[in-house]
Symmetry: C2
Subunit: 119 residues, 2 copies
DNA sequence: ACAACGTACAACTGATTGGTTGTATGTTGG
DNA sequence: CCAACATACAACCAATCAGTTGTACGTTGT
């Protein structure tokens, strides 16, 4: 509803709108991984992967924890669920449309019943 | 899994990563709207809104139907659900992580039980 | 101590995005 | 017929994006 919520939704969907980032999410939801461990899996520079991780972190989809010289990334399943709930909100809008159509049908059959009585 | 699936996921998340487009989705999930009716609601040019509708259409989130000189847009709730299912797939990865942790704990308590027996 | 490792960050590039205006095409109502 | 309407589409612009390379800095193991 609020502006900040829309900003957050923008960030969440944008973060997930990239296959490398979705793949990173799969890995960090499965378990903690250092940025360099992640970077080793992709055919791009370390810095590029680091940027992807930063996008996911800013969106709140993962958190980082220092362990010595490594930065361990871990996926936040609650953030993933919050995106899912944005979609169920959308689906609820659709349910409202169906309910309204049902009401119209109900109203129409009532009118028909009245017409039947009159006839 | 496949390349085409990733392309589709990219398009779906990207389409939803814009507040104007999410708002358009709310309207067209609630009922059919012509492009100009939609455009009237936003503080931007008709062409801009038309582009947003095109992005949503290419992603498969809405369909258009001609009615005389108007183009009526309607939201596709199944496409919205398909995005939600991508997220539950992600959540399943996380559940696997938890299951593995549980296994480790179970293994550990078994070892402790053995140690208790030995002691 | 120091070399190798893991990370952070800045600067740059080409591609894409979200917006604009302008023009062309089809549709409708009087 | 024709004016108003609804749409489509191209060209353009500023901003953002995804990638690169280079540099700097803290950490670790020998």
């Amino acid at each position: 509803m609020t502006e900040a919520d829309e900003d957050r939704a923008d960030a969440l969907f944008h973060a997930l709108a990239d296959r490398t980032r979705r793949d990173i999410m799969r890995r960090v939801l499965a378990g903690e991984h250092s940025v360099s461990t992640l970077a080793a899996r992709y055919d791009m520079s370390f810095a590029a992967v680091q940027k992807h991780v930063a996008v996911l972190e800013k969106a709140g989809l993962l958190t980082k924890r220092r362990s010595g010289r490594e930065q361990l990334a871990s996926g936040d399943v609650q953030a993933v669920r919050s995106v899912a709930s944005l979609l169920t909100d959308l689906e609820q809008v659709w349910r409202g449309r169906i309910a309204r159509i049902d009401d119209l049908i109900a109203l129409d059959t009532t009118q028909q019943a009245n017409t039947d009585q009159e006839g």
